[in-house]
C-alpha cells in the first residue's frame, strides 16, 4: 500500500501551472480561504509531523526547492515546471507496462469511471447521452484512452505539457484502430492555461487525476480547470490527503527509507485534504453537489473503495457546475 500510493502520486502528477507568485498569492488569499493544513481538525489522525506554511490558503507555491533542470521537451510555457517534465519523461517507456511502475495507476483506472458514473447518475436530470471529456495531465493516456472507448464519449481532449509522454500516449493509441481515424481522442501538448479560451464551458467532464498534489498553486489550477466545465457538467479529480499516513507512506517510507521514489518527488505539504477541497469549492458560487470516494490499495488485490478512507489517503473528489 505504501509504495503504491507513492507511485500513484509520482506518476500522474505533473506541474501544470505556475503563474507568477504574486498573482497566486493574491488570488489564493482572497478567493480561497482554505484552512491551513496544520489546522485540520476533522482528520481522525494526529497532526502531521512537518508543518507547512501557516497562511490560510491551499498550500502555497514551494520555494526554489526544485532544481531548475533544462526542459527537454514540451511547450515553451512559463507555467511548466522543468523538473516534473524531466521526471515523467524518464518514466515514459514503462507507462503501459502492466507490471511496470504504473501498475497501480492501471488498477485505479476502472474506479475513475465508476466514480464519474456515480456523479453523472446522482443528478435529478439525466446526463447528456454523449459526453465531451477534457483530461488535464493525461500522461501516457491511461484514462484518456479508456474514456474514448466508451460509447457515451463523443470526444476526449487530453492535454499534457510533456511532448515525450504524449508521443508515448499517441503511439499506444495507434495500437487500437478504434481510437484512431475516428477523431474521438485528441492529444494536445498544452497546459490548462494555454488552452483556447473559446473552449471554456464546453466540456461535460473535466478530469485531473493524481495531478493537484504536484501543482504549486492548486487553487488557481482548479479554478483554471473549472472554467472549461460546461454548466451542469463535472470537475473530477483524485489526489492524496495530507495525513500522518500519507506522510509515512509517500515521504518517509517511499523516499527516505526505501528510496524507491527519488527524494523530493513529493512535497507532502502540497497534499490537500478532502475538507479543504470541499471548502475551496463551497466558496465559489458556481459549484455544488460535492462528492467524494476514498480508496485504499490492497497489495495483490488492487484498489478498494473504503468509505471514510478519504480522510486518510487516496481519494476521488468531484463538484458539479450549477446549470445555467
Amino acid at each position: 500500500m505504501k509504495t503504491s500510493i507513492a507511485r500513484v502520486a509520482r506518476h500522474t502528477g505533473r506541474r501544470i501551472t505556475q503563474p507568477s507568485a504574486t498573482t497566486i498569492r493574491h488570488q489564493t488569499t482572497s478567493s480561497s480561504p482554505l484552512p491551513p493544513p496544520h489546522q485540520t481538525t476533522t482528520s481522525p489522525l494526529p497532526p502531521p509531523p512537518a508543518q507547512p506554511s501557516s497562511s490560510s490558503t491551499l498550500p502555497p507555491p514551494p520555494s526554489a526547492a526544485q532544481p531548475s533542470l533544462p526542459l527537454p521537451s514540451g511547450p515553451s510555457s512559463p507555467s511548466v515546471n522543468p523538473s516534473e517534465i524531466s521526471h515523467f519523461n524518464a518514466l515514459a517507456s514503462t507507462w503501459w507496462d502492466p507490471h511496470g511502475s504504473s501498475r497501480a495507476l492501471h488498477l485505479m483506472n476502472p474506479h475513475r469511471h465508476d466514480f464519474i458514473r456515480s456523479c453523472l447518475s446522482s443528478t435529478s436530470t439525466p446526463p447528456p447521452s454523449t459526453l465531451r471529456y477534457l483530461d488535464v495531465g493525461c500522461g501516457g493516456g491511461i484514462f484518456a484512452e479508456s474514456a474514448a472507448r466508451l460509447p457515451t464519449a463523443s470526444s476526449v481532449t487530453a492535454i499534457d505539457p510533456s511532448s515525450t509522454i504524449l508521443s508515448i500516449a499517441k503511439a499506444h493509441a495507434a495500437r487500437d484502430p478504434s481510437l484512431i481515424g475516428t477523431g474521438k481522442l485528441e492529444y494536445r501538448n498544452a497546459t490548462i492555461e494555454s488552452l483556447d479560451k473559446s473552449e471554456e464551458g464546453k466540456f461535460d467532464v473535466v478530469t485531473c487525476f493524481e495531478v493537484v498534489e504536484h501543482v504549486d498553486d492548486p487553487a488557481a489550477f482548479l479554478d483554471h480547470c473549472g472554467r472549461f466545465v460546461k454548466p451542469g457538467g463535472w470537475l473530477v479529480l483524485s489526489t492524496i490527503a495530507r495525513t500522518w499516513m500519507s506522510w509515512f507512506t509517500t515521504n518517509l517510507v517511499a523516499e527516505d527509507i526505501l528510496g524507491i521514489v527519488p527524494k523530493g518527488t513529493h512535497d507532502w505539504r502540497k497534499y490537500i485534504n478532502e475538507e479543504e477541497m470541499r471548502k475551496h469549492f463551497s466558496k465559489r458560487r458556481e459549484w455544488d453537489s460535492p462528492r467524494v470516494m476514498g480508496v485504499v490499495y490492497v497489495p495483490g488485490v488492487g484498489w478498494k473503495e473504503v468509505p471514510g478512507s478519504e480522510k486518510v489517503g487516496n481519494y476521488f473528489f468531484a463538484v458539479r457546475k450549477k446549470p445555467e
Binding site: S146, A171, A174
Partner: protein, 500 residues
C-alpha cells in the same frame, strides 16, 4: 469427457513470436496493401461447448453485444446444429452438467434450446472401491440448496451434441456472429502497420484456408487440447499421459423397476450415477433418459483395444462384470480374446452381488457406439497472454473420473465473459493482459486444485494391493460417515469448479 465431438488438426504453420516476424516480412510482399484489415473484437477459434458458450454469453449481454465477434470452426456447424436422433439412440459422447453449468446455460438463454427429452438429471452418486468394496453414497437431498435450471438435482446428463446444437440455435437466434465454419486455420501471425496509421504489429491475425484473414483484438483459444492458439501465444502446457484410454458406449439396461424409466416423466425417476474404482481405472455408468445409460470406462490401452474388438454379447458381459466381479476375475477375463459371456455368467453365480448397489444389468449396446480416446493431464502455464485467452480443453485437460472437464470449461467461459464485460464497461482494451488478469486469477487456482484432486484420486485407486488399499478404504468409509466433508465433495460435483 469434453468437446471430443470436434477434433481438429494442429495447424501446419504455427509460428512462435520470433519466426512470425520473419514470416511477416515474407507475407508483406504478397499482401494487398490497399485492402483494409478485417478487424474483430473477439475471434474465437473452436466451436465446441466452451467456444459456443463464450460467444453466446457475449452476444446475450447488453454490455458486450456491440462487440464484433467471429467464430472459426473446422467442422460443418450446420450438421451439428441439426443434430437429431430417434429417442432410442444416444450419442456416445455425453457429459454431466453441474448445477452451476446448467444455471449458466440458463442465464445466457441457451438452456431452452437443448432437447429436454434427451437429458436426464440424477440425484444420487454411488462410488466404491473395486478392491476393498468400501463405498460412499452421495444421496442428493432435495433440500440441499444447489439448484439447476431444470429444477433441483445434482447434475444433468446431456449428449455433447445436444449441448452444442442448442448453443448454435441460441446463437442463431441472437445473430451477429461472423461464422467461418468448415474453415481450417492455416496459420496465426501478427499484423502490420496500416496505411491510416494503425499499429497492428501486436494483433494476432488468423489466416484461414482460402486466404481470409481475421485480425483479433482478443483471440480466444477454445480449440481443444492441441490448441493452435496456445502454441501461437507460446504458452506451454505441461502434464503427462495416463497410459489409459477412456472407453465409451451407449448401453441399454434391463428394466428392473428401480433406477429405470418412468413412462412419460423421465426426470422423476430416481436416477443414480455409478462409479467403481478398479486398479486399471474407474468405470462409470451414467444415466440417460429411459433405460439408457452411457459408459465411461478408463482402462489400459490393451484392455480398451480388447473391449472394442469384442462381440456385443461379450462386451455387454464385460461391462456387467466390471461392476460386479472381483478385480482378479476381471484381470483374467481381459486375457481372453472372446467368449467372455459364458465365463462371466458362470463366475457371477459364485459372486454375491447386492442388486441395488450396482447398476441394472446391461442388456444391449448401441451399434457403433463403442469408442475410446487416450486420457491426458495437461495444464497450460497461464490462460492469458497479450491479446490471447484460453478456455476449456485448450487451457486444461483432466482425467474424466469426476466428470469435471466440460464444467471447468463452462466455468472458464463464465469468468472470461464477465471479465470482458467489465473491461468494456470501463473502456479498457479487452485484449490487453491487464484487462484479462482477473480471468486468469479467478480460474487458474480453482482449476488447478480440482485437477489435482482428480489426478490424485486416479493415482490412489490405481494401486491394486498393499497398505494403500485398506487406508483408502478407511478414508472412503470415513468420508461416508462425515456428512460435512461429504457435503463439500458434493458441492464440488455440483459446482463449476470454484474452490472457495
Amino acid at each position: 469427457m469434453e468437446s471430443l465431438i470436434i477434433r481438429r488438426r494442429a495447424t501446419q504453420w504455427l509460428c512462435s513470436r520470433n519466426s512470425c516476424r520473419i514470416k511477416q516480412r515474407m507475407l508483406r510482399a504478397y499482401s494487398n496493401a490497399t485492402s483494409k484489415p478485417d478487424i474483430y473484437d473477439v475471434v474465437c477459434v473452436g466451436g465446441g461447448p466452451a467456444g459456443l458458450s463464450l460467444l453466446t454469453a457475449l452476444r446475450s449481454s447488453a454490455a458486450t453485444s456491440n462487440l464484433r465477434v467471429a467464430l472459426v470452426e473446422a467442422q460443418d456447424l450446420s450438421k451439428t446444429k441439426s443434430f437429431n436422433l430417434p429417442p432410442t439412440q444416444y450419442s456416445n459422447r455425453c457429459s454431466s452438467l453441474t448445477a452451476s453449468s446448467c444455471q449458466f446455460l440458463h442465464e445466457i438463454g441457451a438452456w431452452d434450446h437443448l432437447q429436454q427429452d434427451r437429458m436426464t438429471r440424477y440425484q444420487d452418486m454411488r462410488v466404491w472401491d473395486g478392491v476393498s468394496g468400501a463405498s460412499i453414497e452421495f444421496e442428493y437431498e432435495r433440500t440441499h440448496g444447489v439448484q439447476n435450471a431444470g429444477g433441483q438435482g445434482m447434475a444433468c446428463m446431456v449428449e455433447n451434441l445436444n449441448l452444442t446444437s442448442g448453443l448454435l440455435k441460441r446463437l442463431e437466434e441472437l445473430g451477429g456472429v461472423s461464422t467461418f465454419d468448415k474453415s481450417k486455420v492455416e496459420s496465426i501471425s501478427f499484423g502490420e502497420e496500416t496505411e491510416d496509421g494503425a499499429d497492428l504489429r501486436e494483433w494476432p491475425v488468423v489466416h484461414l484456408a482460402g486466404g481470409k484473414q481475421l485480425h483479433a483484438r482478443l483471440l480466444v483459444g477454445a480449440d481443444g487440447a492441441n490448441s493452435p492458439v496456445r502454441s501461437f501465444a507460446g504458452i506451454n502446457a505441461s502434464g503427462w499421459d495416463y497410459n489409459r484410454h477412456g472407453v465409451v458406449a451407449t448401453l441399454q439396461l434391463e428394466q428392473t423397476g428401480y433406477d429405470t424409466f418412468t413412462p412419460g416423466d423421465p426426470y422423476e425417476a430416481p436416477k443414480v450415477a455409478y462409479q467403481r474404482f478398479l486398479p486399471t481405472g474407474p468405470v462409470a455408468m451414467l444415466p440417460m433418459p429411459g433405460n439408457y445409460s452411457t459408459l465411461v470406462w478408463s482402462t489400459t490401452p490393451q484392455n480398451a483395444a480388447l473391449l472394442k474388438s469384442l462381440s456385443p454379447k461379450d462386451f455387454i458381459a464385460m461391462v456387467n462384470a466390471a461392476f460386479r466381479l472381483s478385480t482378479v476375475d476381471l484381470g483374467y477375463l481381459h486375457t481372453q480374446t472372446s467368449n467372455q459371456a459364458e465365463e462371466i455368467s458362470w463366475r457371477l453365480q459364485h459372486t454375491p452381488v447386492d442388486a441395488h448397489a450396482v447398476p441394472a444389468p446391461v442388456i444391449g449396446v448401441q451399434e457403433n457406439s463403442v469408442a475410446s480416446f487416450p486420457l491426458k493431464f495437461r495444464h497450460a502455464d497461464t490462460y492469458i497472454a497479450e491479446r490471447v485467452a484460453l478456455v476449456g480443453d485448450a487451457a486444461h485437460t483432466v482425467h474424466p473420473l469426476a466428470g469435471q472437464g466440460l464444467n471447468m470449461g463452462q466455468g472458464d467461459v463464465q469468468s472470461l465473459a464477465k471479465t470482458i464485460q467489465f473491461a468494456v464497461e470501463h473502456g479498457l482494451d479487452i485484449g490487453a493482459t491487464m484487462s484479462l488478469e482477473a480471468y486468469n486469477a479467478e480460474r487458474y487456482a480453482a482449476n488447478h486444485v480440482l485437477m489435482g484432486v482428480c489426478d490424485k484420486l486416479h493415482k490412489l485407486y490405481s494401486v491394486g494391493s498393499g497398505p494403500l488399499v485398506p487406508l483408502r478404504s478407511l478414508g472412503l468409509n470415513l468420508v461416508n460417515s462425515l456428512s460435512p466433508l461429504k457435503g463439500f465433495l458434493m458441492e464440488r460435483a455440483a459446482g463449476n469448479g470454484k474452490v472457495f
